[in-house]
Amino acid sequence: MSNQSESSSCGRPSIVDEAMRWVRENEGTKIDPCKGSYPSPRISSELMDCSMPLTFDQYSFCGLGCLYCFAYFFKSQNPSMKGKMGVKAVDIDALIKTMESKIKQGRTASAMQKHFYNKKFLFHWGGLADPFCSFEKENKEGLKLIKWLGENNYPTLFSFKGGTVLAKPYMELWQKYSKQRNFAFQFSIVTADDATAANVEVGVPSPTSRFKVMKTLSDMGYWTILRLRPFLIGITDRTLDEILEKSFEAGARGISTEFFAMDCRMTDGMKTRYNYLAKEMGLKDFDGLEDYFRKLSPTERGGYRRLNRDVKERHIKKLYQFAVKHNMVLGISDPDFKELNMSGSCCAMPDKFPDNPLLENWSRNQLTYHLTQMRKHYHKTGECRTLTFTQCYGINTFMDETSLANDHVAVIGVSNAVRQRSTLRDIIRQRWNNLDSAANPRNYFHGKLMPAGMDNEGNMIFKYTPSSYEDRWTAEGIDLTK
């Protein structure tokens, strides 16, 4: 544990003060173009079960100070970030020209254009940083792209909690394109309690003000989603009823959730953050949190510890029942209960959106969609369906472009030839077939899909396996065909 004192002189935990210092230092930061540009969009590393693999951030990191931030964890572990913490921005003008096909394309840009931009594939903005944090307030790099996306009716989902979304030039754009409805908004909220949020999501507008923004954008007609992520057991469940009711009242039509997970690799900075979170969650300290996650996480999922489904069941049940009652789309990004998704997108994007069908333009070639279909099929017919690799991922997609796999973590440490000839399909196929891999469907979903033979192409076939909760919930009258 860090030797840092537990509280500052004003009684606030010192880690909160530290996070606040980070937030204040970032306010007013001007982008220095000499530092180079940040490469984005990119393909999400979660593409095996992700409906929106085209993910984008306009800055290299985030100006907010959330203690649970997984991006802080990844970036603080990344050797390339050491000593280079100056924020970088994407070259938005070049990106727009690429999207418009106005400049000579490199291999990666050509592939992005062919498979995504030309097809108006849903653009997910806010993967590793907040689109509307203090960097955007000062630099407005994102604003240029929002204008272009609006002008071109390009479908876009923003995942955020920053306050710049309400600034005048942004509000004018939301108003201008409200009839078109090509934008959708996901609001990250993990507690309804403003005081708790002030210490956990440092420098972020209060949940109360986020609900107000949600109402404003919902009233304009936009598809809005409660992003209940990360669901922090011991914190989020304290005000879960209030979060759900306030989101519904604010016009949210979707709920997306994923439970907090804990990587077994750890920096001192993360330990200090987690020490504080542990106490809020009802655990003694960092060691208590580590013990809790070690004992309750299936080992088959590897070192990124995710609690098992029995720990999450009572919370998911509440979400599912609330969504059914209020006709909302429930999206579950967590590997447990992923089968309960109500659309094929775990970000809770709709299957059908007649106001602007472009918002339906997300990928069905992924496990979330198929697992959801298998669950519905089981509860309608009693039959447990099987799934092959090709059924799941299709053929001739972006996964077959070698240029899109060059920077994937799976090709680090392999020869240049293998790296240059690897495709995302090769990478996920390896995971699909390797029963020792934490990303293998059997392990990742902890037995929800079990091996059921091999197909003609030499790939594993997986079969839907009903869980005990499905019998119990059905016996209680819960409809699992939604």
């Binding site: 009802g282 208590g288 009572r314 690897s422 090769d426 037995g447 929800k448 091996p451």
Partner: protein
């Protein structure tokens, strides 16, 4: 094919129901302790069936070993060999075109003489 719930279903049901019964009016600290004592995950049963080949890109990769470094250098003269991690080569268009010509009969290899013969009359 047996699934995990065939092995674990009944046991799971019991412990979740038991947790629900015992968790009423508990503090957050007591709930965390109760979760740790009652809701430990089970192991997935060992897979005993056939397993697929798992090396990524394996079906597109061959390792070549030449007789000597001179032969390897000759190869490198015509094909770009990079040495990140290990010596490797992926720009193989000329080699593939040559193999196609060989396969179509436009080129023939006389193994006893270690020589090629062109057969221009053969169409690809």
């Amino acid at each position: 094919m047996a699934g995990i719930s065939d092995f674990l279903g009944k046991k799971n049901e019991d412990r979740v129901a038991r947790f629900q019964r015992l968790s009423k009016d508990k503090t957050a600290e007591e709930l965390r302790d109760l979760e740790k004592s009652l809701l430990r995950p089970d192991k997935i049963p060992t897979h005993t069936g056939k397993e697929a080949r798992t090396m990524a890109c394996a079906d597109k990769v061959i390792k070549l070993a030449f007789n000597n470094v001179e032969e390897k250098a000759l190869f490198a003269k015509y094909f770009t060999v990079t040495n990140y991690i290990e010596d490797s080569c992926y720009k193989l268009d000329m080699l593939v075109d040559f193999l196609k010509a060989l396969d179509s009969g436009r080129i023939r290899y006389v193994e006893s003489k270690r020589k090629f013969k062109l057969r221009p009359s053969v169409n690809s």
